[in-house]
Symmetry: C2
């Protein structure tokens, strides 16, 4: 078994990471782009989603786009500032979960955890859907097979993550640089052409758009703007990853790193703003349900470089790659969150130690399956998935920042050193503003998209939270049961030991088990065999007598040719006769060289051990016999 | 785990049979029809297959059909007689396998076993294909879905057999009576109508047939006849089941039972002969590859009763049912053969005891999968499957009867009482004739159908035999290794015992494991914990000291947060230091109420136990802790 197990482990799970290494700081050049990829990648679709909302009012409202972009950039500054304070206060990687759990209680903490898990699923779903859309824009032949393309991309992302690949490697850093380079060249070329007098024109510039909302009142106009900002906030979904990257750096460099990370955020935002400007310049139009439209970023690249230019292909491929890295960040983030939740006993204990990557494979698979289900349910449409994404991410932030508000309030109500009061008030205002902004974004999206899609989040998150609550209650119950009463010190010793050696045939493993049982000096020692076949049993008894073994052999009858039941019943009878005795059952076992050889050995001992484990006052001792070839290997 | 296991077992495997009950005689009325069903069911397709062969020479050769039928009936008499002698000589149910194994050696025995397994697969494949054809003849709408119908029928047969249903129940006996009644009524009605002057005419009477072989020479004619007889021998494939039924009866009634069984064979043959006569009377024609043809038996029923009559439907359904019972006999026969093969160590040992029906589920599934593969590969065609069936069954008989020839020769070369010599010579001639006849049948079928289909048997059977030989060699090797040398009596006792109690936290299961370890009075006793997380470890050590436990606690470092490796390395270090010591590892374990609760407990102990089993001189003692709710259930 271990042979194939080890092999499978090596292929799927990869090499191990030492604890020290897991916490080791990263070279900046590699760490930064990966941490920022989530945020950078949203440049690929944020502008498009803002245009979709504005176009609901007709193309005449597209003039609002720059103002929406400016508002989103301002929101980003607000959110990253608030988030840096949160991470400073709770630097152990728990982020919003820690802030909500410690300040607002277990219920809020658990809801935050559920929302973060939803965030993971939707990061995957949105990034994969966007990558698919971009690839289809570049390779129209793929249009028929969108879902298959999405599934294939997801597998490409999932498998190395299940293997636990070191995501911060150069392979994961390169796409960010490729993407930034591509977009910057596109911007320079586009605006340059415009300055030279031949402004690029998007292929959708003449698209006829029927306004869904016509003749907006002032209130309607404000709400349209709010919706556009809310949807544009998807550009901020990477804020968490950026801010949580701060503690990954060396302590002396913390300030430095934080500044650099803020710069990365600034780069993302600058690119987003410039792309939006280019979209306005090229008169790009985008409607919600146009199957024939190419992704906005692809339309821009085509308008600037032309459809057949190599730069167009470059932008397509670089965009798809950064989106895949962004999807990967979700899988990368999962083990850290799962470990924290397991530590608090909201998830199975085996997720705590992070010693075995295999433990996380199940959760990653669930995330991938949920993402695939969402991608399929919403027709591989970024536009339809984005509202769910926003609700999950900003719902998390609302809880985290509300927790921070409570945190600052608590600090303000304590004893303060001079100057601390003013600082805490400023931070309270920051967190409060961020919480209110996030709540407003969630509210707008929920109001406009609840029926169409967002209800899914409101079903899935409570479900996940419920499961975690059940797990938690179970662990609490078990812990209460296992706790050692204060008055007891080391447990009572059983009065006597009754040892049983199970015998099927008289061979060397049996003799070894007998010898080991005798060393334990039990009060009673007997060998027991189950008579399945009369001839075999008679032969065994004869040989036992002939060899004059120093242990009596007891034969149990088995009218149904079973092994397990007669043994269990015999053990129970011993326990009934003297309840304070400890019964030790010695089972000789073969260990074969290969799993397929192991198949040839009787599996009945496994079942027997399972049943014996259910019987009180019984311990089971396995006496393994390593078959020859195995032994010559291992010594 | 056992909860769901037991439930699954009850649904799939059914109730147990006591050994005494397994060997108990059956009421004749129930036993006979089931034993005979394999033979009876061939009435449904044998005539058709004979017509297929004769039609190769053109419709003018159909006049040979009655002579073929007579020859087949004569062969049946020969074969059943020879077979009854075989079963008398080897009455333990091994049949051909025993006869070949004991007289011709292991190689021939193993080949026979492989052929019998092929016989099982083909009994299923041919019966299911024939049942499908008959049902499609009655319900033409099913024609498009032949393969799906076949798969469905196979499932219907497989599931109750995996459950280990008592096949000899009335449910399995009824179809034989229904089928006999239907065919007899059809024969009386058909010949009656002819006697009354309005002979029924088959729908295919005017079918234009292009002869494949025209202007046959005398040699060609003989060969055509031989082919027809060989194919018609498929009517004899049930002989084994009938003859092997003899020992199922009470000893005083043995003669009586044997006679009754011979009568059942006679009934099958009479029905076959009469159906062939009716086919000739109605001028039925049947060609090898006519997709539009209905099964011969359905054509006869339609000709006699008319397509819309209830009796037509009755014959269709009764025929399909007896074919399903015939398919079932293969699954029913498998555990008996597997048990014999396992006894001789050609199959995994767990198939020997017949204590647990689940052990046979895997083999039955393989038989069903092989049957489905053949059905699919040969387009659900009875005509294309029959040659394989004949090769498997008659190949078995050739080996079995050749073994009997050897048997009689051995008896003749020994000391004989008066009269015994003549009897033995008569029996020698009988077995020899049967062997020659069977060999001739195999030869004819192999010559004519090798390329088209029969090669499959020549690939599959050696493969199966090879696997069994490998298993056998493995067991021989292990047995040699495990055998106790004559000079040794009870094994050497290890010099000292070094006991280790694995500790993760300090709770009641840990204390219990410590207590149990102390009772074993080891020479060295220590508690060992693996430090995965520094804080947790420090807490454990503090509490250990505070409680003043009488056992020292050792902390093993784990830079990779693993549990298994540090423990294994520690154990190996102990063994290296004092190789004659026995190391006993005590592992506290939780036993949860439900399998989903068990998921919440650390699985690392399973892996650890697997690895410890590979280490020499180590025994593992599991100290189970039954969690509360479980304990309140079981006491």
């Amino acid at each position: 078994m271990p042979g194939i197990g080890e092999l499978g482990k090596r292929i799927l799970v990869g090499r191990k990471l030492a604890t020290a290494r897991l916490q080791q700081p990263l070279p900046k050049r590699v760490a930064l782009p990966v941490l920022a990829s989530d945020s950078l990648s949203s440049v690929a679709y944020t502008t498009q989603e803002i245009l979709v909302v504005l176009t609901l009012g007709g193309v005449s409202y597209l003039y609002l786009a720059p103002w929406v972009a400016v508002t989103v950039v301002a929101a980003m500054v607000l959110l990253v500032s608030a988030y840096r304070r949160l991470v400073h206060a709770y630097p152990h990687g728990g982020g919003d979960f820690d802030a909500a759990f410690r300040n607002l209680g277990a219920g809020a903490g658990l809801t935050t955890a559920g929302l973060v898990l939803a965030d993971f699923v939707l990061t995957v779903a949105v990034s994969i859907a966007a990558a698919t859309q971009v690839l289809v824009s570049g390779f129209p032949d793929l249009d028929e097979a969108r879902l298959a393309v999405a599934g294939g991309l997801l597998l490409v992302v999932l498998v190395p993550n299940i293997r636990g690949i070191r995501q911060r490697g150069p392979f994961f850093a390169a796409p960010a640089y490729l993407f930034i380079a591509g977009i910057v060249i596109m911007l320079i070329w586009g605006f340059g052409s415009a300055a030279a007098g031949s402004a690029p024109v998007a292929e959708s510039a003449q698209l006829a758009v029927t306004a869904e909302l016509s003749d907006l009142t002032a209130v309607g106009l404000v709400f349209l703007f709010a919706r556009a900002v809310a949807v544009g906030s998807v550009a901020l979904t990477g804020a968490r990853a950026i801010a949580s990257g701060v503690p990954s750096f060396n302590k002396p460099r913390r300030e430095n790193a934080a500044t650099t990370l803020a710069m990365m955020a600034a780069v993302s935002m600058a690119m987003f703003a410039a792309v939006t400007a280019l979209a306005v310049l090229t008169d790009l139009r985008y409607v919600a349900d146009g199957a024939e439209q190419r992704a906005a970023i692809a339309q821009l690249a085509a308008a600037v470089f032309g459809d057949d230019s190599p730069m167009f292909g470059y932008v397509i491929v670089a965009t798809a790659l950064i989106l895949l890295v962004a999807a990967s960040t979700a899988f990368y983030g999962y083990p850290a969150l799962a470990s924290i939740l397991a530590k608090h006993r909201y998830l199975p204990r085996q997720l705590y130690a992070r010693g075995d990557q295999r433990a996380y494979a199940g959760g990653m698979l669930l995330i991938a399956l949920a993402a695939v289900a969402l991608i399929a349910a919403f027709d591989v449409s970024v536009t339809r998935l984005v509202p769910l994404y926003i609700v999950a991410v900003f719902g998390t932030h609302v809880l985290g920042q509300t927790g921070m508000v409570r945190h600052w309030l608590r600090i303000l109500s304590g004893r303060l050193r001079p100057g601390e009061g003013g600082q805490a008030v400023r931070r309270l205002v920051l967190s409060g503003t961020a919480a209110l902004f996030c709540a407003a974004v969630v509210a707008v999206v929920v109001v406009t998209e609840f029926v169409a899609s967002v209800w899914v989040v409101f079903v899935a998150v409570p479900l996940v939270v419920g499961v975690m609550a059940v797990i938690h209650r179970y662990y609490l119950r078990v812990n209460a049961e296992l706790a050692v009463p204060q008055d007891k010190s080391a447990g009572l010793l059983p009065s006597r030991v009754h040892a049983i050696v199970l015998v099927s045939r008289l061979h060397r493993p049996t003799l070894r088990a007998l010898a080991y049982a005798r060393v334990g000096r039990p009060d009673v020692l007997e060998a027991v065999t189950v008579s399945v076949n009369e001839d075999d049993t008679r032969e065994l008894v004869d040989e036992w007598d002939r060899r004059d073994l120093p242990v009596p052999l007891k034969v149990l009858d088995s009218p149904y040719r079973e092994i397990t039941r007669p043994v269990i019943e015999y053990v129970r009878a011993i326990r009934r006769a003297s309840p304070r005795d400890l019964v030790t059952v010695y089972i000789p076992e073969y260990v074969a060289r290969h799993w397929w050889e192991q198949l040839l050995h009787n599996k009945s001992t496994i079942r027997l051990k399972g049943r014996l484990a259910l019987t009180r006052g019984v311990v089971v001792t396995s006496v393994p016999w390593q078959l020859e070839s195995r032994r010559s290997q291992r010594g």
